[in-house]
């Protein structure tokens, strides 16, 4: 075959559009970051994460900061396990947190005066993992016939039963005891747990626990990463894509599902034990539905099935709520997020600029209408905003409440509008009212506002990026 013919045959059957597929996805900046992370060798990624986390216990003694760092790593490890069950294998496991709790309580039983048992830590951890496997298997076995929503309901039921039992098994009459026996400590939990003690060293300070949790996170990451790139990982992804085809192509789908389930429950159990030792106690509240929701938010935010996404997700969902406790910082983040959203959502750029100017002009008009009104207080970027937007306020609480309700009303109105111009026109007063509501009301009540903000951020983010930050948009071909 001569050269020319060879060159043209190279292109035969190759659709240029398809050939550029990866190029197209990388135009998206967030996906580009995700793809860049994927290109970094795994060992190097691990090293960067290790150094990043290790910097904190080495550089700071601030126990508040260390507690947040430890929580990020703990939630990342937990979310990795859930990501394996829900992201890789596609099983909607809502009982995941129960296994976290089983790990915590198992540790408490084996390392406290509650039963008077003090086993050495390595043995305890092995028993904890074995217990996680056992309970995962016991719940998984009957549940594997269920799919999708049905599996979700069955596993959620398991979590609720677990929560109820840990809270209420305080007066149990056993046939071989005289009086009632306290089996779980009830709402008061089990306290005064032993510290972790590994290789002859006992963890006594928060620094030690941060290091232990980071080591656990790195181990879990390595294990999950290795399993993902193996026959088992491919089997999980295959059964998530098409259960029937996976089974027909020789993959024992029931056993693979059970394996994913058990894998997840053992990771959760281990995390629970480390958490219990760190906190020095276990309470039913530690393992309840809010934790489950946070974990699902982490993996969905990061992108189902993405390992770097889990880290970013747990960072966002643990650190951002803490940052929002500070009013000045919260205001800066809030206005920054609003402006950023405008810039991203409104194209071309000059329109976004025009909207911001129009909001400021509206503020000027309000000032003219009420020249005597006092300005609302503000800190950080909030002070600047209250001067530019000129938000006159007399009866701050009432004005704030009305403004907040009015913003919601305008947002609903906007959802029914079809013309882009009309949407922009409604947007201007909405933004001004939103700023008014923020300055007078929302920023004054950070404990409530931060949850509102996180909720709003999740709603907005999932609308912009349905597949999460580093997730791949799944394609269904009809």
């Amino acid at each position: 075959m001569n050269g020319e013919l060879k060159a043209s045959s190279d292109r035969l059957g190759r659709d240029e559009w398809v050939a550029e597929h990866t190029g197209r996805t990388r135009r998206d900046p967030v996906a580009a970051v995700g793809a860049a992370i994927e290109r970094v060798p795994f060992a190097l990624r691990l090293a960067v994460i290790a150094v990043g986390f290790a910097a904190f216990p080495l550089l700071t003694d601030n126990s508040y900061v260390l507690r947040i760092v430890g929580t990020v790593a703990l939630f990342a490890a937990l979310a990795l396990g859930l990501n394996l069950v829900a992201g890789f294998a596609g099983l909607l496991d809502l009982g995941y947190v129960a296994f976290y709790g089983i790990g915590g309580y198992t540790y408490a039983y084996l390392s406290s005066e509650f039963l008077g048992i003090h086993l050495p830590t390595p043995l305890t951890l092995i028993i904890v993992i074995a217990t996680g496997v056992l309970f995962g298997w016991l719940l998984g076995l009957p549940s594997m016939r269920l799919v999708g929503d049905y599996l979700a309901i069955a596993t959620l039921g398991f979590l609720l039963v677990f929560n109820q039992l840990t809270a209420s098994l305080t007066r149990v009459h056993l046939p071989w005891t005289d009086g009632p026996v306290d089996m779980t400590g009830g709402p008061n939990g089990i306290i005064n747990l032993d510290d972790l003690s590994l290789f002859g060293l006992t963890a006594t300070s928060i620094k030690h626990y941060v290091i232990i949790i980071v080591v656990m996170l790195l181990t879990v990451m390595t294990v999950v990463h290795n399993v993902d790139r193996s026959r088992i990982g491919r089997g999980w992804r295959a059964l998530r894509e098409n259960d029937l085809a996976a089974e027909t192509m020789g993959m024992p789908t029931k056993r693979l599902k059970l394996l994913a389930f058990v894998f997840g429950s053992s990771i959760a159990g281990l995390s629970g034990a480390v958490f219990a030792a760190w906190q020095g106690a276990v309470f039913p509240n530690n393992f309840a539905v809010p934790v489950l929701i946070t974990l699902y938010s982490i993996i969905v935010l990061g992108g189902l099935g993405s390992i770097p996404g889990v880290l970013v997700g747990s960072f966002v969902l643990v650190v951002v709520p803490e940052l929002l406790r500070d009013v000045a910082l919260a205001s800066t983040l809030f206005y920054g997020a609003v402006v950023l959203t405008l810039i991203v959502a409104i194209k071309p750029l000059w329109r976004a600029g025009a909207v911001i100017l129009a909001v400021a002009a509206l503020g000027g008009l309000a000032r003219l209408a009420a020249p005597e009104a006092s300005l609302p207080p503000g800190e950080g970027l909030g002070a600047l905003v209250s001067h530019i937007l000129i938000l006159p306020v007399e009866n701050a609480t009432l004005v704030g409440n009305v403004a907040f309700v009015a913003v919601l009303g305008l947002m609903f109105l906007s959802a029914y509008l079809t013309s882009p111009t009309a949407k922009l026109l409604v947007l201007v007063p909405s933004l001004w009212l939103l700023a008014l509501a923020w300055q007078t009301r929302l920023s004054q009540d950070p404990s409530v506002t931060r949850l509102l903000l996180i909720g709003a951020t999740l709603v907005a983010l999932m609308n912009f990026r349905p597949a999460g930050l580093f997730g791949r948009t799944r394609v269904e071909v009809l």
Binding site: R14, D15, R237, E241, N242, T248, P252, R472, V475
Partner: protein
């Protein structure tokens, strides 16, 4: 010729409807057998019964002399039967190479410990699996090779998805390959390519092939033997010429008493 597959008095009902009714046939080692019949004749159900997706109500299916009736589908595949689907069932959001490699599951044995520690044995097996997958994809020329390996399966054209499904089935290392309408939805040149491919699969790959096809051109060109079904019963079998000339086959396709049959 020894029979690799024996279907023995097989019956299956959906409620009161007999979709497969007392069906008996054999497929010999190295044979290419075409399964034809009008829509609703029970052809795909026969494939579903053989591959274990349904358990037969009555009768037996023997593969290489051993019964596979009622086995779980993955066990049937492990014995050496693999198939493709009429309505494609690819793992669309996985890469092309992962689609094929995933089907090596029952031919590989690395356990969890080896995988977590990435032992040399696991790496060797993984490398061999990848090599085999690339080799199988190479069976189709340049169409799904090279840069396509890492593309997600959904980016492939319809014809290439059919090719990928065949490559995936081959990764199960079957001795009997069941193809459900391999030429469905293909244009004439792609159809003739599929015809040639089925021949090559037998001649070069050594697979025994049972296929369902509505395109009589493909059946005429490649089938050693044709089995015609109607209402779940076998109405004729033999060479293509014999079967299409059989009055009951003509009746099944065209009805009785039309101008054409007279």
């Amino acid at each position: 010729m020894t029979a690799i597959l024996e279907v023995d008095r097989l019956s299956h009902r959906f409620g009161g409807l007999r979709v497969v009714d007392d069906l008996t046939f054999e497929v010999g080692e190295g044979e290419i057998v075409g399964l034809i019949g009008p829509n609703g004749a029970g052809k795909t159900t026969v494939l579903n019964l053989i591959t274990g997706l349904y358990a037969p109500d009555q009768g037996d299916i023997r593969f290489e002399g051993e019964s596979v009736a009622g086995l779980a589908p993955h066990k049937v595949t492990e014995r050496g039967i693999a198939r493709t689907f009429q309505t494609l069932r690819l793992f669309l959001n996985m890469s092309v190479i992962d689609n094929v490699m995933s089907a090596a599951y029952c031919r590989t044995g690395a356990n969890l410990g080896q995988i977590i520690l990435r032992t040399p044995a696991f790496r060797r097996e993984e490398a061999a699996t990848r090599l085999r997958a690339e080799e199988l994809l190479g069976f189709f020329g340049e169409r799904i090779t090279g840069y396509r390996f890492t593309e997600p399966a959904y980016s492939l054209s319809y014809a290439n998805r059919r090719r990928l499904e065949i490559a995936r089935a081959l990764m199960c290392s079957p001795r009997l390959l069941l193809l459900d309408e391999p030429a469905a939805g293909m244009n004439p040149s792609e159809t003739s390519e599929v015809t040639e491919l089925i021949g090559r699969l037998r001649d070069e790959g050594g697979y025994t092939i049972l296929f369902i096809e509505h395109d009589m051109g493909v059946v005429a060109d490649i089938a050693d033997r044709v089995i015609a079904l109607d209402h779940g019963r076998m109405i004729a079998q033999g060479s293509y010429e014999e079967v299409v000339a059989d009055p009951s086959v003509i009746e099944a396709y065209l009805g009785r008493g039309t101008g054409i049959t007279r």
